[in-house]
């Protein structure tokens, strides 16, 4: 694998792309406030997000062959200055985040008009931009403390966004408050972990920390740092049993926020976990391996089953999907816990595929909120006939959630099963297949509600507007496309996995 580092010359605009990636939404955020116009807020936000999307494509194209871009913020060389590092793994995450934000924004205009009171629109989009830039910053930066800062930026913005759901349901405030409490504890643990690492190595630059840990060997301080970071990030990932903020937050947030968060926020946190477990700490350290085998692996399996069982018994589509997300995160963590190239590839591919699947599904939920004014199963009865386009997209998304061949979800589960068999752990492979059967049940319940039960006589629900249906279908078609053409996703994921598993050497 090439570990050649592109020298930092930063003469042209292209060289500044890593900075532009984060700055675009970050600068646009105050601009939206200053302009303060309700009508201009959406176009400006969309513009920033779309531009960031283009930038992320350009970045991925530069690093897909395995090379690394190292960008020195303000020209200060690391380890003193802050370094932005782009390799295949985080370029892939950047692409996912910007693609999803752009897609969800397309959908958001009508949805936000409907769900958020008009006087808050400008501030709502500002918070969204801050959240976006925070997530991008977390993914792109190569500095441990900088990760914490961006994590807090995105988290604080997220709390605000979730609280905006109070227009529809006051419980959004409690949900947001709960998440605030827990998110803060998680972030604190994370920063304590970084503190330990700083204590042990005297540096905050990830590559530098990795190098010094390698020289030092492991010691108690490093181990404590590792434990704190895994638990702190585990909370952001919604790793079972640290998931209980998620169902309420997803249920009561405005639809577009849920779609965006489900597709990106937990995924970025997974990326941070990957980065620390594999690149910063040498994956050969016994304590790392043991943590994966004795803590993350069993918890992942428990999550796959218990969250799916909870999802089966839900009577609210949005909450059901939230619990399904917790189960799907179990698959991702399982892939990481395999500690093999195929396993990590499966985790990254699933991160992407589940991202698009859930974005499509939660946007469809938003369409139901818009047209049918509710997401409970009894409100959604017979919607298959009254909102055929949205409901058909739910079918596609649901199939992808189950992992039916021909959809994106199948690819990631296939790679995951392959990884399990490669290790010879075929009981685990069996568990993966069994838990998929649970997904069949909870998806089936939804389809039954949509298609097999008659709508109430007096119902006059109409299909959602095209500005919502089209983004939903882009997501649904992406589920099918990435289920058939796996070149892009698998190549990028495999390169990323190789980069991550090369361990700390991948950072030099």
């Amino acid at each position: 694998m090439s570990t050649e580092t592109v020298p930092h010359t930063a003469m042209t605009l292209v060289d500044h792309l890593p900075a532009i990636q984060v700055l675009l939404p970050f600068v646009m955020a105050p601009l939206v406030v200053v302009v303060g116009s309700r009508r201009l807020a959406w176009p400006l936000t969309f513009l920033a997000s779309a531009a960031a999307f283009v930038v992320s494509i350009l970045l991925l194209m530069q690093v897909i062959d395995g090379s690394i871009i190292s960008y020195h913020m303000g020209g200060w060389a690391p380890p003193l200055g802050i370094e932005y590092r782009v390799d295949a793994a985080n370029a892939f995450v950047l692409l996912l985040v910007t693609a999803m934000s752009t897609l969800v924004l397309l959908f958001a205009r009508r949805s936000v008009e409907d769900e958020v009171s008009a006087k808050h629109h400008a501030l709502f989009y500002t918070a969204f931009l801050l959240c976006l830039s925070g997530l991008l910053g977390v993914a792109i930066t190569g500095d441990a403390f900088n990760i914490f800062v961006f994590l807090e930026i995105s988290s604080l913005a997220t709390y605000v966004l979730i609280a905006q759901g109070s227009e529809r349901d006051k419980r959004a405030l409690t949900a947001s408050y709960d998440y605030l409490m827990m998110g803060t504890i998680g972030a604190t643990f994370f920063v304590i972990g970084i503190g330990f690492l700083y204590m042990a190595t005297g540096t905050l630059n990830l590559a530098d920390i990795a190098g010094r840990i390698e020289d030092l060997g492991d010691n108690r301080t490093v181990r404590a740092g590792f434990a704190f970071i895994v638990v702190g990030i585990g909370l952001k990932v919604a790793m079972f049993p640290l998931h209980s903020w998620l169902p309420n937050a997803y249920t009561y947030a405005p639809s577009m926020v849920t779609a965006f968060l489900a597709a990106t926020a937990t995924k970025v946190a997974v990326y941070v976990l990957l980065r620390f477990v594999f690149s910063v700490f040498d994956p050969d350290f016994l304590f790392g391996t043991n943590t994966l085998a004795f803590i993350i692996l069993p918890l992942a399996v428990v999550a796959m089953f218990s969250a799916s069982f909870v999802a089966i018994f839900q009577s609210d589509l949005k909450r059901m999907l939230a619990y399904s997300s917790i189960a799907q995160i179990g698959y991702i963590l399982l892939g990481i816990a395999f500690l093999s190239e195929t396993g990590v590839t499966a985790a990254i591919v699933h991160l992407f595929n589940h991202g698009i699947t859930k974005a499509a599904l939660f946007m469809a939920v938003g369409a139901y909120v818009f047209s049918a004014k509710g997401t409970f199963y009894d409100t959604l009865q017979g919607m298959g006939r009254q909102m055929p386009l949205t409901s058909a997209a739910v079918v596609v998304g649901g199939l992808s959630l189950i992992g039916v061949p021909g959809t994106a979800g199948f690819i990631s589960k296939w790679v995951l099963v392959e990884a399990a068999l490669e290790k010879g752990w075929w009981p685990v492979a069996l568990l993966i297949v069994l838990s998929s059967l649970l997904a069949v049940i909870y998806v089936w319940r939804v389809l039954e509600v949509l298609y097999m039960q008659p709508a109430s006589e007096s119902s006059t629900v109409r299909e959602a507007p095209m500005s919502m249906v089209i983004p939903i279908w882009i997501g649904a078609l992406a589920c099918i496309y990435f289920g058939l053409d796996t070149d892009v996703t698998l190549t990028a994921a495999r390169t990323a996995a190789q980069g991550l598993l090369a361990g700390s050497t991948g950072l030099h």
């Binding site: 309420n248 304590f287 803590i295 061949p405 021909g406 068999l421």
Partner: protein
């Protein structure tokens, strides 16, 4: 252009176009045209053609045309044509689309050259066909459909598990001759066995076929079981255990066919029984026996459809297929009666009718391999088929006591479909040479030797005699109004009871446990948050509190693991 397209895609394409066509004659014409085009395409594709695509690191072989797959694909086209002709009057888009997709999936599976493609189409047949049952629209049909779907999809899942294991063992996904022995091949064998309705895996068949719509049953009867026969002939030819499974499958349904009241269910048992003959042929594994199995599958499609068409026509006109409610219909449905007799003669292997020319291949093969017991058992089964199906169905439906029903003759399209199928049954039986020419191996065999004919006629004559004597003496089981539960009692009655019992116990245990845990946590939190406010607000704090507790626990455990290792 059609040369580059796998045949199955023609059907999928047809199913996509179908809903936009105007209902009525145009659509019906389209439905019968698609199988003809497909058959023409198969016929003009040279043997040995192979069509491959790369999918996700694997090379999938979408088309593998050889003599074994070609004959099955052709007969499936024929079945789709006849079934759609029979359903000409139908105005139900769902059933029409399902029928096309079902036929397409079955043909795709037959042409599949690798196990992944096979799996995809395997599940395709399961999912598309269930709509033919659900289309009946009754509560019973819904539940039957669910049971059917569970078993069929279960078969697919077992197949997938076997394929994955096989791939990790051998690194190959090619669909070819396999040996039983490893877990992988056993799983694949089991998956095939479920679709093939092996004894004790057979209940779905008698459960589902009588529950489908009039036209749906005709189509259902043609594909799934014969697809499984093909898969076994391809994968497990010459596997000895199949002989004994075959004999058991051929004998067991006799009892049930004899006593069941629903004529369509009787037929389902009779078809199940025929599966046994084919399994014996596959188990023997010689060229002659395989030819026999394949030929028997081909004519089995024809007379199975014909008999279901006849009982379907009766059901369509009278609204019932129960032996106890029918009788004396020959007065007003003479043509249907005639076709039913031809079908009965074919399934009973009368000389000059379809079953004879093919069953004797298997019988001869078993003698050649010196399986005398097997041969004897098959003779017994043949006599039994005649007694339970060949005589019973026409007798109770069209003769017997006069039920007083005076229905109209079946509609023209049904009659036409039945006539074409009946002619085929006679043609296959009287002049089997063209059929023999299409079989996988070259045959030099004549069914009409004196011994064969005499043996078979003896069998039939004495069975008829037995029937007549029993009828006279009043010993023949009369048609009782009843629904018989076969071994499916185990999962339709016993299993729910067991599961219900376990569920209840577990449920109450879980409830007690979780309430204990809840109480524990609650009291803990009450103590922790006692100073923060009145009782009412504590519930609100609950998620945050427990989560913080979890964080602490998890951190502690992680630290311990880290320090210990």
């Amino acid at each position: 252009m059609t040369e580059q397209l796998p045949t199955a895609f023609l059907f999928v394409l047809g199913a996509l176009i179908l809903p936009v066509l105007p209902r009525g004659a145009v659509r019906a014409l389209f439905l019968v045209a698609v199988p003809i085009v497909a058959a023409w395409q198969i016929w003009t594709t040279p043997l040995g053609t192979s069509m491959q695509v790369d999918f996700f690191g694997f090379t999938l072989e979408l088309m593998r045309v050889d003599r074994l797959s070609r004959i099955f694909a052709l007969v499936f086209c024929l079945a789709a044509f006849l079934g759609n002709l029979y359903a000409w009057h139908l105005r139900d888009t769902v059933q029409q689309v399902a029928a096309l997709l079902y036929a397409g999936a079955a043909i795709g599976a037959v042409f599949a050259g690798d196990l992944i493609t096979l799996f995809i189409y395997w599940e395709g047949t399961a999912i598309s066909s269930v709509f033919l049952i659900w289309a009946r629209g009754t509560q019973g049909a819904y539940h039957t459909g669910m049971r059917y779907l569970l078993i069929q999809v279960g078969s697919g899942v077992i197949l997938l598990a076997g394929v994955i294991l096989l791939y990790s063992e051998t690194g190959s996904i090619a669909f070819q001759r396999m040996e039983l022995g490893s877990l992988a091949t056993c799983l694949i064998f089991l998956a095939f066995g479920i679709k093939c309705a092996f004894l004790l895996l057979h209940n779905w068949l008698q459960d589902a076929y009588p529950a489908a719509t009039v036209t749906g049953t005709v189509i259902l009867s043609a594909f799934t079981t014969k697809l499984a026969i093909y898969a076994l002939a391809r994968g497990f030819a010459g596997t000895e255990i199949l002989i004994y499974i075959g004999v058991a499958t051929a004998l067991y349904p006799l009892i049930w066919a004899q006593i069941d009241n629903n004529l369509r269910r009787v037929l389902a048992y009779a078809l199940n029984l025929q599966q046994g003959f084919m399994l014996v042929g596959i188990g023997l594994g010689t060229e002659l026996a395989l030819n026999g199995a394949v030929a028997h599958a081909v004519v089995g499609v024809a007379y199975g459809m014909l008999l279901f068409m006849c009982t379907g026509a009766v059901l369509f006109r009278t609204g019932t297929a129960k032996a106890s409610d029918l009788g004396g219909l020959y007065r007003t449905m003479p043509l249907t009666m005639l076709f039913c007799l031809i079908g009965a003669a074919s399934i009973s292997a009368f000389p000059l009718f379809a079953g004879f020319a093919t069953k004797s291949l298997i019988l001869s093969a078993s003698l050649k391999e010196q399986h005398y017991m097997v041969w004897g058992a098959m003779l017994l089964a043949s006599a039994g088929v005649f007694l339970t199906t060949g005589l019973r169905i026409p007798y109770f439906a069209f003769f017997a006591k006069d039920s007083g029903l005076r229905p109209k003759e079946a509609p023209w399209n049904m009659l036409l479909a039945m006539a074409v199928t009946a002619v085929l049954c006679i043609a296959f039986g009287s002049y089997p040479v063209p059929l023999y020419a299409l079989l996988p191996y070259d045959v030099d065999y004549s069914a009409y030797s004196t011994t064969h004919v005499i043996t078979q006629l003896q069998l039939l004559v004495f069975s008829t005699l037995a029937f007549a004597v029993l009828m006279r003496a009043g010993l023949y089981p009369t048609a009782l109004k009843s629904v018989n539960l076969d071994t499916d009692w185990s999962y339709r009655r016993l299993l729910p009871r067991i599961v219900g019992g376990i569920g209840e116990t577990l449920g109450s245990a879980m409830a007690r446990m979780s309430s204990m845990v809840n109480d524990g946590l609650r009291s803990l939190i009450i103590r922790m948050y006692h100073s923060y406010g009145p009782q009412g607000r504590i519930a609100q704090f609950w998620p945050t509190g427990s989560m913080v507790l979890w964080i602490a626990i998890l951190l502690g455990v992680t630290l311990i693991v880290n320090f210990v290792s």
